[in-house]
């Protein structure tokens, strides 16, 4: 049991690419911390620095009270689960699970006991004598977990352990891993590019982009109060709508001017964004979650704007509408930029991740020249290509500085 501490950690690769910049992060003892970000944001590099697989360029990483910068992997007392599981194809499941213990020359009885314990815990007992290639994807995943837990290390490190599974299995294993971690109470750092995984599994979630840590918080806080445009756009599906807008000051009260309509901002809104009044009459970025967009007739009396409906996706429980309103959309660069190459170089064996939900949405939306996503109730009669009157729930609007992208709090 131990906490993990990053203090001003930098990672610069030999080719000069800066993969992690000035990262400071405290992972509490027993906590399940998820490092999330688009591929190539430096999250895997950060994890590998904890594992001792990547040298730390500057700053310190400590596990417990020990600075581990100069310790080899095996002296850090950690266990790691890899994306492709890294099971040894030539060894049986039992041998795979026992691998680390045997390397540490644990007594035979202890190894046997631990292997049995782990196998029972993970439902692997009937498969102990099989080779990895004779197992299903989920079973392989569990073997990889088993190999980590038998060692009873101070810290678990998991590098996208579920991304090679199909969607259904992923949901199941998500819960299993989270449960396992709760039972064991071992400090865990879990890397993923999937924000749903991050939100559902993590005690806290750390969002990274381009090598920089953006925000660390509980999942709901991330959703409700994103620290900047990037977090706002990255967390949540469909992604938050963001537009350039201005806030007008009218005596004591503030109002948002968007697409020609004027939305009065309630008092408590001003309280949550005390700096907002300083930005009056200036260009800011406003963020609106899709679920905070409503059809105008459902909210009589609210100010409304007109949007042309470019695409509809009926999901049964709701329908997602893609509209075009008269406002300038602010795009958030979620696609990898320069630092990504660094991670790609560091891990050449890793394949490109599958396209993510948010990519697909962006793709679909752009082809119909839409700039706003809204979640409508089911069975609402909406016609493609027609103008739809919509309104916005101003209680949950987010405001960001147009220059820095920081939330105005």
């Amino acid at each position: 049991m131990a906490q993990v501490k990053f203090e001003n950690v930098d990672k610069v690769f030999d080719n000069g690419v800066k993969a992690v910049a000035n990262m400071s992060l405290d992972v509490r003892d027993g906590e399940f911390l998820v490092l999330v970000g688009p591929s190539g944001c430096g999250k895997t590099t950060a994890l590998r620095m904890v594992a001792g697989l990547e040298a730390i360029s500057s700053g310190t990483v400590s596990i417990g009270d020990t600075v581990v910068n100069n310790l080899t992997s095996k002296d850090r007392d950690i266990a790691m689960v890899f994306q492709n599981y890294a099971l040894y194809p030539h060894l049986s499941v039992a041998d795979n699970i026992a691998f680390g213990l045997r390397l540490r020359k644990e007594p035979k009885e202890k190894i046997a006991k631990q292997v049995e314990w782990a196998a029972t815990m993970l439902d692997l007992v009937p498969y102990l004598n099989r080779r990895p290639k004779e197992l299903s994807g989920g079973q392989r995943q569990r073997v990889a977990m088993g190999r980590a837990i038998v060692r009873e290390p101070k810290v678990f490190l998991m590098d996208e352990p579920l991304s090679n599974l199909d969607a259904k299995l992923r949901v199941q294993m998500r819960a299993e891993i989270a449960n396992l971690q709760k039972q064991l109470g071992t400090t865990t750092i879990y890397v993923t590019h999937d924000q749903v995984e991050a939100m559902t599994m993590g005690d806290r979630v750390a969002v990274m982009s381009m090598g920089v840590l953006q925000q660390v918080a509980e999942p709901q806080v991330l959703y409700d109060a994103p620290a900047n445009i990037f977090v706002a756009g990255f967390i949540g599906t469909p992604p938050m709508n963001m537009f350039e807008a201005t806030v007008e000051k009218d005596g004591d009260s503030l109002a948002l001017n968007l697409a020609g309509a004027r939305f009065a901002l309630a008092k408590d809104r001003e309280w949550r964004y005390p700096r907002l009044s300083q930005y009056a009459e200036r260009k800011i970025v406003v963020g609106i979650r899709a679920e905070d967009v409503h059809a105008a007739e459902a909210k009589p009396g609210w100010p409304s704007v007109v949007g042309r409906l470019g695409l509809m996706e009926a999901l049964g429980s709701s329908q997602i509408g893609y509209l075009n309103i008269d406002a300038t959309k602010v795009a958030v660069a979620i696609q990898p930029k320069a630092p990504d190459d660094a991670t790609a170089n560091a891990k050449p064996a890793k394949g490109a991740p599958a396209p993510r939900a948010e990519d697909l949405h962006t793709e679909a939306a752009s082809s119909f020249v839409t700039n706003l996503v809204a979640i409508f109730p089911p069975r609402l009669p909406l016609k493609l290509g027609t103008d739809v009157r919509i309104t916005i729930d101003t209680a949950n609007i987010h405001f960001f500085d147009a220059q820095t992208g920081e939330a105005l709090r």
């Binding site: 049986s92 390397l103 049995e116 009937p126 004598n129």
Partner: protein, 537 residues
């Protein structure tokens, strides 16, 4: 408990805490901790002991530089393997590197160095060695003649009792030198035979004849050069050097005629009229070996002939083999073709049999007088005797050996061509031949071209196929080293190793380097095609 998969329905009690690691998993502990350390120390000690001993021998032989060099290599080994957790790559690379340097890289540099030297049968020594050898070998008979009585002293060593034929002066000739003695100390017995002084026993009868060979090799060295040599079993004469070396002027002078031999700068002593002393020495001669291929008609003709034949041999072998292999592969490339596997197995028999055996067998089969092939044919073909037929034989046998390889390659490549492409072409109205020409062959060549080039480069130096079948023969009309079927590599081999016409290491090395550039160029083109370089990230 380990090993293959067992049934799904193993109950929990079956596997309860009886886990035992498999032998593969045990490999791990074998090379860790004390086990690995002991292995390492034992191996390293053995190495140190053996190399250390070699170093002592080297010192004893006064080869100081080599001794120190060897010691340095040993030091590198100890340094690399005894430093904990450091120099990791070196630990893995060192054994291979040392072998590579000793038996591949050093020889390459030696070869390059040799190519710039006059280095042949009569030019293997250093200049100093050549001078003394010339002096030793050029001895002329002096004016003296001795009557000789071979004797042995008490230790059994041979001693010659000598009486000067003209002066009557008496000597004892030992291996260490000549000693003059009082004529009175020896007597002549009633048969006219010499009785040696006390302590020596004259050899008589069988002893004398038995010592014949020993006597012939026996020499009594004289002060100031020369020696007394035996003649038969009862006579001896003195011999004096026929040549003298004048250090100051660096010339050899004939003692009798006074003719001077000067250093010609190319490893020989020659007179002004061009007469050369037999024994020369190694000498750097610049690019002469390389240019000889062009300028020296005695070298040019065989070189160019061997070169042309090498190209013809390699090209026809590869092209014929590829064509036949592709043709057979195409015949077999049909779904549900009967006996496909049997046919393939039988067709690759020549590939499975060691090549040198097949070549030697073919040598017998093609024998002009007794060979089975000529017996089976209604007429006699001079397979190995006639230059042109010998060339045909070499190509045919090489094709026989190479075709199975291309058969395998083409079968694999044909399978890899997507069926849809062929079907699409058929639907578009292409005939069989057109489909083959326009679709199958181009796709196949993409895969096979690098292999064809590699095979060409291989056959370019296919020493075995030529040497074991024909020995490079039959001898060509110009009586040069290169026979009718000699490819460059076998020609080079003969230049260097077959003493019949004098070995010429310098020329052989120069031709070697030509071959290197040719092969490197071919390999480079094949390599670039195969794009193996892309995997070098």
């Amino acid at each position: 408990m380990t090993g293959q998969a067992t049934s799904d329905r193993i109950s929990r009690s079956d596997v309860s805490s009886t886990y035992r690691p498999s032998w593969l998993a045990r490999l791990l502990s074998l090379f860790s901790g004390t086990g690995g350390l002991i292995v390492k120390i034992v191996l390293l000690s053995l190495l140190n002991a053996m190399v250390g001993w070699a170093v002592i021998v080297l010192f004893a032989q006064d080869r100081i530089v080599w001794a120190l060099g060897t010691l340095a290599v040993l030091g590198v080994f100890d340094f690399v393997y005894l430093r904990p957790n450091k120099l990791l790559p070196a630990k893995f690379i060192l054994p291979g590197s040392v072998l590579l340097i000793a038996y591949l890289i050093v020889p390459i540099f030696f070869t390059i160095n040799t190519a710039f030297q006059r280095y042949s049968t009569s030019h293997v020594l250093t200049k100093a060695e050549a001078i003394s050898t010339n002096i030793e070998q050029n001895v002329v008979q002096g004016e003296k003649f001795f009557l000789m009585t071979p004797s042995r002293d008490t230790s059994g060593a041979l001693v010659l009792v000598l009486v000067d034929d003209t002066t009557g002066q008496t000597y004892l000739g030992r291996e260490s030198g000549l000693e003059e003695i009082d004529p009175a100390s020896i007597q002549v017995d009633e048969f006219g035979d010499v009785v040696p002084p006390a302590g020596l026993t004259a050899l008589v009868g069988d002893d004398l004849f038995g010592a014949d060979a020993e006597l012939a090799a026996f020499e009594v060295p004289l002060e100031g050069g020369g020696a007394i040599k035996t003649e038969g079993i009862s006579g001896a004469y003195d011999s004096v050097p026929g040549l003298e070396y004048d250090l100051a002027r660096d010339v050899m002078i004939a003692t009798d005629t006074g003719i001077e031999y000067t250093d010609n700068g190319r490893g020989s002593f020659v007179t002004s009229s061009g007469e050369e002393l037999v024994v020369g020495w190694r000498e750097y001669i610049g690019f002469e070996n390389f240019t000889a291929v062009v300028t020296n008609p005695l070298v040019r003709a065989p070189f160019l002939r061997a070169f042309a034949w090498t190209i013809a041999f390699a090209a026809s072998t590869v092209l014929l083999s590829f064509t036949i292999g592709l043709f057979l592969a195409k015949l077999l490339d049909k779904p549900k073709f009967r006996f496909k596997r049997l046919y393939r197995s039988l067709l690759i028999v020549p590939y499975a049999v060691p090549g040198f055996l097949s070549l030697l067998v073919f040598k017998g089969l093609l024998n002009d007088d007794y060979g089975l092939i000529n017996k089976l044919l209604p007429f006699d073909v001079p397979w190995l005797f006639d230059p042109w037929w010998a060339r045909v034989s070499v190509i045919l046998v090489s094709v026989w050996l190479t075709t199975p390889y291309f058969l395998l390659v083409c079968m694999g490549a044909l399978q890899a061509i997507p069926g849809e492409l062929v079907e699409a072409a058929r639907v578009d109205g292409a005939g069989r031949w057109q489909v083959f020409r326009k679709v199958t062959l181009p796709l196949l060549l993409v895969v096979v071209t690098p292999l064809i080039i590699a095979s060409f480069a291989y056959n370019f130096n296919n020493f075995n196929n030529v040497f074991l079948l024909t020995g490079g023969g039959p001898t060509s009309s110009d009586q040069s080293v290169a026979g009718a079927t000699d490819i460059l590599i076998s020609y080079t081999y003969k230049l260097a190793f077959e003493a019949g016409k004098g070995q010429d290491y310098g020329l052989a090395s120069a031709i070697s380097i030509y071959i290197f550039f040719i092969v490197a160029a071919m390999s480079a083109s094949g390599f670039l095609r195969s794009k193996a370089l892309e995997n070098m990230k």
